[in-house]
């Protein structure tokens, strides 16, 4: 390897002045240069490369990083150093410069946590498994998130970011699992069925009472877990043993015994509390976490209200489904729902019950079943007023359904993008993704003229006829191939001839079988249509006409296809317009939507590709195509997206798509496409149409060539 000489002070100065825009930022570089100058060349290059990468995000962070990183170069592993820089940039994306600079300044703390991380278990690594684990346990569908301490508000289970009490990663994982299971047990075995605020009001030392209560409740839940999940309980005991948390203080054994009864409920815990209160509380066990009555109370109050109404609305819907109201019918007797527990032995499952409507058993839909389970968890039973179907207009179900919508997708942070999709974006300067960078929503296209499609078809009459014929010929149908060397049936005609030949003394043919020829077209194609402002006029017309002809051809062919438009303005408002989804047939409504495709705003392509690839991945097909109809480069409103950044992000999104087994292809009418499209799509995966008017004629033809 060639040893490069170290950079001179002047070279470093020039580089930093450029990268950190010293002319405008007025940052003082002398000290920095003096610090970097004596380093070996490899470290100089490494450091300056990262300074440059960070500077594309923010110059101040890059400057601070450079200053602090020099003395750390020898002490720290490069991986740790890089994670530190990336964490700072992610923080900047999420909450701004102030917090990002804090990350840079608190490098010691960062190093400390990353040391813990090597033996500890990190939330991100285990949350997938633990989330599935709690979903498997019965009861309410709980969520899992990170917080400062382990606790639950009865809907979400919280774990700290890093758990490092134990010595090995395995044991720390076991501890995390015990923590979530213990939190689950609180929701499952009714720890929150009392109003703690009222129940503890009479005790002079509230904090002590709460500690004692939680310790007693832990004894009760331990016993529940020992019965329900003995394997887990063994692990929990082992953890306590390892941490020396096995012994109970004097006098507590009798409480443990009392609360271990299978019938013990939270009210028994409260009655034990009276005798336990004078004693000192035991040390909390490792998986116990915290009890936060306020968090529980507020979630619980909101949930009870919401679920009661939701259940009543859902039951009303159920009644409508089962007995649709008929015109002119007299008022029927009001529907009466009742709930029956199964007559089963010892421990009935919380989610096993039967519902009857006017004494006839009904099969509740999954959402009703879950609601009832959740209400039973809170109240132990379903009060009769919950089972009264809501009257007309009594509640607006929309109000409550929206709240029910999974807020997992909502990114907690400075932005409040309720219900939107969040996608990362590739930052070529940083050579890394920006997390949750783009906010994308699906919208409906406002339908256009209903007669538009028929009109286009009439205009292209001859071509449509020709298209239908060509595509019909491509359609695969099962057909029997005769006289084959191999096959699944004897070709009797061929055999008779062959036997005659044999008798005759001439040579026998070996082509004696018939074979069923099947080459199913198993193609799903996604059309991604540029709806940016620049398509206004001719291009938009051409796109719509091309789609009409394509749809016509694809209907003949039977390939599955979807059409989506994309546009948007800034990363926070990326929009995908539904024209036709894969499941939707080619209805008049779809035709009207094709007619309604209209120019909107800008072209942030990467996020659109990521979203549509996701939709395409969910479709089952042997070949998946993503065809973009576009008129130009990726672009966005006053944003770095215009230029190199946008091209690199789009390229990255396409690489991701390809990795997922999708074949991207681009049809463009940009005459300058050669400058950037080969870089994005690859040399053979795009086609440039020089005349807009030819797009409709060519699109179907291109599709035919692509798929044969």
């Amino acid at each position: 390897m060639v040893q490069h000489p170290p950079l001179t002070a002047e070279a470093i100065e020039t580089f930093l002045e450029q990268t950190l825009e010293a002319e405008f930022s007025f940052l003082r570089l002398d000290e920095l240069i003096a610090a970097i100058h004596p380093l070996p060349r490899a470290q100089q290059d490494y450091l300056l490369d990262w300074v440059k990468r960070i500077s594309t995000t923010n110059i101040e962070i890059a400057y601070q990083f450079a200053g602090r990183a020099v003395p750390l170069l020898d002490q720290l592993d490069q991986r740790v150093l890089e994670t530190w820089a990336l964490t700072a940039m992610d923080t900047y994306d999420r909450t701004g410069l102030r917090d990002a600079l804090l990350v840079i300044r608190n490098v010691e703390q960062f190093v400390h946590t990353s040391e813990i991380r090597t033996s500890g278990t990190v939330f991100e690594d285990i949350s997938g498994i633990l989330f599935t684990f709690i979903r498997g346990l019965s009861g309410r569908k709980l969520k899992l998130e990170q917080a400062d301490a382990p606790f639950t508000d009865s809907e979400t289970l919280y774990l700290p970011t890093v758990i490092a009490w134990m010595e090995t990663v395995e044991d720390n994982f076991r501890l995390a699992k015990a923590m979530v299971a213990f939190q689950w047990a609180q929701t499952r075995y009714g720890s929150f069925r009392v109003n703690l605020h009222d129940a503890l009001a009479d005790y002079p030392d509230q904090a002590h009472a709460l500690n004692c209560f939680f310790a007693l409740e832990t004894l009760r839940l331990d016993a529940c877990l020992a019965r329900e999940l003995p394997g887990l309980y063994r692990d929990m005991l082992a953890l306590r043993q390892a941490l020396g948390q096995t012994a109970l203080p004097a006098g507590w054994d009798s409480f443990a015994h009392e609360l271990a009864s299978p019938d013990a409920g939270v009210s028994d815990t409260l009655s034990c509390l009276q005798s336990a209160y004078p004693h000192p509380a035991p040390t909390p066990v490792c998986y116990q976490g915290e009890l936060r009555p306020d968090a529980v109370a507020s979630t619980l109050a909101a949930r009870l209200e919401r679920e009661k109404m939701l259940l009543r609305v859902k039951l009303a819907e159920l009644v409508d489904d089962l007995h649709p109201p008929r015109q002119g019918e007299e008022e029927k007797k009001p529907p009466v729902f009742s709930l029956k527990e199964p007559e089963e032995g010892n421990t009935p499952n919380i989610d096993q019950f039967e519902i009857t409507l006017n004494d006839m058993p009904v099969v509740p839909p999954e959402d009703v079943r879950q609601l009832i389970t959740s209400i039973k968890l809170d109240l132990g039973d379903i009060p009769p007023e919950y089972l009264t179907p809501a009257g007309d207009g009594e509640y607006d179900p929309k109000l409550y359904q929206d709240e029910e919508r999974d807020p997992d997708a909502v990114w907690q942070g400075t932005y409040h993008e309720e219900g939107a999709h969040l996608y990362p974006e590739w930052d070529c300067g940083r050579k890394h993704y920006r997390k949750n960078w783009c906010v994308l929503r699906e919208k409906d296209v406002r339908p256009g003229e209903p007669g538009y499609v028929a009109e286009v078809l009439a205009r292209y009459g001859g071509l449509v006829k020709h298209l239908r014929k060509t595509f019909e010929a491509m359609r695969d149908e099962n057909r029997v191939e005769k006289r084959q060397v191999q096959g699944d049936e004897v070709d009797i005609d061929a055999l008779v001839e062959a036997l005659a030949d044999a008798r005759d003394g001439s040579e026998m043919s070996d082509r004696l079988f018939t074979r069923m020829h099947r080459s199913e077209r198993n193609i799903a194609v996604m059309f991604m249509v540029d709806m940016s402002g620049s398509t206004k006029g001719w291009i938009n017309d051409a796109e719509r006409e091309a789609l009409v002809l394509l749809a016509e051809a694809l209907e003949v062919l039977g390939d599955r296809y979807a059409i989506y438009g994309f546009s948007g303005i800034t990363r926070k408002r990326c929009e995908i317009f539904r024209v036709k989804s894969f499941d939707e047939p080619y209805t008049p409504a779809v035709k009207a939507r094709i007619a309604g495709i209209a120019p909107q705003e800008y072209t942030r392509m990467g996020v659109a590709i990521r979203h549509l690839s996701k939709l395409l991945i969910e479709v089952e097909a042997r070949t998946k195509l993503l065809i973009t109809l576009s008129d130009g480069k990726p672009d966005d409103y006053f944003d770095v997206y215009r230029g190199q950044y946008g091209i690199e992000d789009t390229r990255q999104a396409l690489i991701e798509a390809r990795r997922a087994g999708i074949h991207p292809f681009c049809i463009t009418i940009d005459r300058e496409a050669k400058a950037y499209l080969p870089h994005m799509y690859g040399a053979a995966n795009y086609i440039e149409i020089d005349d807009v008017k030819k797009l409709p004629l060519k699109a179907a033809d291109i599709y035919r060539k692509l798929t044969t």
Binding site: G128, I129, L130, F131, T132, F133, R135, G136, L137, S138, K177, A181, L229, P230, G231, L232, D235, P342, E344, G345, N349, Q352, N478, D488, E489, V490, I492, L495, L499, M516, E620
Partner: protein, 270 residues
């Protein structure tokens, strides 16, 4: 001992198969059979559809001819084909034709897997004509009075390609099967695998956990059949957690994270 070779027509079920009725499926099947109506069994895999057919064949004392349908199954695989023997062509009946002649119960398992053109050959058999046209022979066989047609299908695979056509499904009396209730399922697992009642109950609990995961990463929860497999392994001395891993977790998913989570569930239970 050599394996027994049986003609399909003489495949009478001699010993009563173990079957626990969940609802009124037995009487409905008998009523359909008495009226010469074909039967469609719907339900997830491994919930006892095939066992139910064996049980009904035993009860009705008819031979049972089962055809497991696959995507290469052609109409002639069911109806029959010409073979060549010593320079002559010889006709050979397929299983469906044999069942029609002998008055057996013909059970087409997982019918949607078969090719679309295969399905139409059963249409004339499945309505009041009760006849099987043998196109290649140029004859029509009228079904023996004892003949019965039953098909099964799992509506859980939500794929447009694997849906039963209306013209096919609207000829059948449909019986819906699902996993039995927890106590009944435990009873079945205990009876079939030989584990004790407490362990069978745990296995069922484990199955319910995996069924809770249906839709959050699993296509289908553990079936009763898998529980019986696990139970049999345990009865032979395999530790429960290992048995659940081999007989259940690995059978329902390949996804590493899902496997790990299911493993955590089973290790928590046993």
């Amino acid at each position: 001992m050599n394996a027994r070779t049986l003609n399909p027509e003489s495949n009478f079920i001699e010993r009563e198969p173990y079957y626990e009725a969940v609802g009124s499926e037995i009487s409905i099947f008998e009523a359909a059979y008495a009226n010469r109506l074909p039967v469609l069994l719907k339900g997830p895999t491994g919930c006892g559809k095939t066992r139910f057919m064996e049980y009904m064949a035993w009860r009705l004392k008819r031979p049972l001819i089962t055809v497991s349908c696959h995507d290469d199954l052609t109409a002639s695989d069911l109806v029959g084909r010409y073979l060549v023997k010593g320079g002559e062509t010889v006709w050979m009946d397929g299983p469906l034709a044999r069942a029609v002649r002998a008055g057996a119960i013909c059970y087409l398992d997982e019918i949607v897997e078969a090719r679309k053109d295969t399905m139409v050959v059963i249409h004339p058999l499945a309505d009041d004509r009760r006849a099987l046209p043998m196109e290649k022979l140029g004859v029509i066989i009228e079904a023996n009075a004892d003949f019965c047609l039953a098909i099964s299908y799992n509506p859980g695979y939500q794929s447009v390609l694997k849906d039963l056509k209306q013209s096919t499904r609207q000829r059948f009396v449909a019986l819906e099967f699902d996993y039995p209730s927890a106590s009944l399922e435990a009873k079945i697992v205990a009876a079939e695998s030989g584990v004790d009642a407490a362990l069978a109950e745990r296995l069922v609990k484990f199955a319910q956990m995996t069924r809770n995961l249906k839709g959050s990463g699993l296509e289908e929860g553990a079936s009763t059949r898998l529980l019986i497999h696990a139970g049999k392994l345990i009865a032979k001395g395999v530790p429960p957690v290992t048995a659940c891993q081999c007989a259940i977790a690995q059978a329902i998913t390949d996804d590493a994270e899902m496997l790990a989570a299911v493993q955590e569930l089973s290790s928590s239970l046993f």
